[in-house]
């Protein structure tokens, strides 16, 4: 379903932009929305907002919508976007910063159903999968 999106410049320079820039060390406003990141993203089929839209939402200070999106958890930091960005924005770092903003609250909004997995499933999974998923998806 299409959601109408009202764009206003009122939020430029918002504290959310500053927070994401600080955690990610990236210049968010350098992005000129070419869409190359989304074109090459292997996870784009599993995202509700695409990587270039994530950057745009940060630019516009759309904090709550972005923090509630599924896409920030779908990104696995494969770095394909980073290697192809013509403006040298490291999109994976920006998405990590948005995840961190969620995980650094005291709400413990973890995104991994680890407690629901059976002992057999956990035993079958290699340590590399369990450790990396917990590192990326839990607080």
């Amino acid at each position: 379903m299409m959601t109408p999106l009202r764009i206003t410049p009122a939020r430029l320079g918002d504290s959310f932009v500053a927070q994401v820039e600080q955690i990610s060390s990236q210049r968010i406003l350098a992005c000129y929305q070419c869409g190359n990141c989304s074109a090459g993203c292997p996870m784009s089929d599993h995202m509700d907002v695409l990587p270039n839209q994530i950057i745009r939402m940060v630019q516009l200070g759309m904090r709550e919508q972005l923090l509630a999106s599924k896409a920030i958890w779908a990104c696995v930091s494969c770095m394909t976007c980073n290697s192809r960005c013509p403006k040298n924005v490291r999109i994976a770092e920006v998405i990590e910063a948005v995840r961190e903003i969620v995980l650094r609250t005291n709400e413990r909004r973890d995104c991994l159903p680890i407690a629901e997995l059976s002992p057999e499933t956990l035993a079958a999974l290699p340590p590399i999968a369990l450790i990396s998923s917990m590192r990326k998806l839990t607080s």
Partner: protein, 292 residues
């Protein structure tokens, strides 16, 4: 030649086939591999947040262990460990304050880290120190007729600062399998992400990635796929079970570590191949060519 070796957690459990074939094949090449004493988990992923110093501690502790053994470089064959250790090394080399904070935190260590250890991947050692010509000269059982799709995934080539080869079109593994007598196939999706840790919570997502990546290898008429990452190996091999269930046109393909092909070609004992750890048995494809 002697080399300090960091195996990593998964090579000591689910990927013993990678560990044992690494050690055995390097011995055949005249390289003595010495496993580090007291190594610890690298953390598996590099924290991308600029202020995330806590997750640099585990990799830096390993670099201290290398120094304690009077070495200035070490090798790992796991792509994920390589990436995490090398990125942490680059991060502290570029940020003296961060390095100082980490050393302060690790104050119980007898050795300070000063950025003076090199992190190398086994494929770099094979290309730059052993050399493909020497490898060819030591082949006992050429992999003649074996068509191999070389899969790099993400962590050997991205980001560019840690890439062991060309970011978009790496060829080091193709050169290695050619040196072993095999034929590399055209494989456009060789650096496409396998979905990584989503295998824990979303196996069907990994089945989708596996279907696409292995479908591409199958289109290149590959007999086997070789990898350098235990997470890629798990996803591309074990998640074929889900891929077969979901996609009616899916063709199973065996997935091996490049070190297993080296072990076969260099005449190592078959016991190091640990084929019991595989989901799709590589033996029929190899036996058809008289290789096992």
């Amino acid at each position: 030649m002697k080399l300090s070796y960091y195996p990593g957690c998964t090579l000591k459990s689910h990927a013993r086939n990678f560990d044992e074939s690494t050690v055995a094949s390097m011995a055949r090449l005249g390289v003595e591999v010495k496993e580090l004493d007291r190594w610890n988990c690298c953390g598996t992923v590099h924290g991308l947040a600029s202020d995330d110093l806590m997750h640099r501690m585990a990799p830096i502790t390993n670099l201290i262990r290398v120094k304690e053994e009077s070495a200035n470089a070490f090798m790992t064959s796991c792509a994920m460990c390589y990436n995490t250790l090398k990125r942490a090394n680059q991060a502290v080399r570029a940020d003296a304050d961060a390095l100082s904070t980490i050393n302060d935190f690790l104050s119980l260590e007898n050795t300070k880290y000063t950025g003076d250890v090199e992190v190398l991947h086994l494929l770099e050692i094979l290309r730059d120190q052993v050399g493909f010509e020497k490898i060819t000269s030591l082949v006992k059982r050429p992999l003649k007729g074996l068509r191999v799709a070389c899969y790099y995934g993400c962590l050997l080539v991205r980001p560019e600062s840690v890439a062991i080869d060309d970011v978009e079109n790496p060829t080091v593994m193709e050169k290695l399998v050619t040196a072993l007598g095999a034929t590399p196939v055209r494989f456009p999706l060789k650096t496409e992400c396998c979905g990584a840790y989503h295998t824990v919570g979303q196996p069907e997502l990994i089945a989708d990635r596996t279907n696409r990546i292995l479908g591409n290898a199958y289109d290149g008429a590959a007999d086997v796929v070789v990898v350098s990452c235990p997470l890629c190996a798990y996803n591309l091999d074990h998640r074929q079970q889900e891929a077969r269930r979901i996609y009616s046109d899916f063709h199973p393909l065996p997935v091996l570590y490049f070190t297993q092909l080296m072990s076969i070609a260099l005449g190592c004992d078959n016991a190091v191949l640990c084929f019991d750890l595989h989901h799709v048995d590589p033996q029929p494809a190899l036996a058809g060519l008289g290789l096992v």
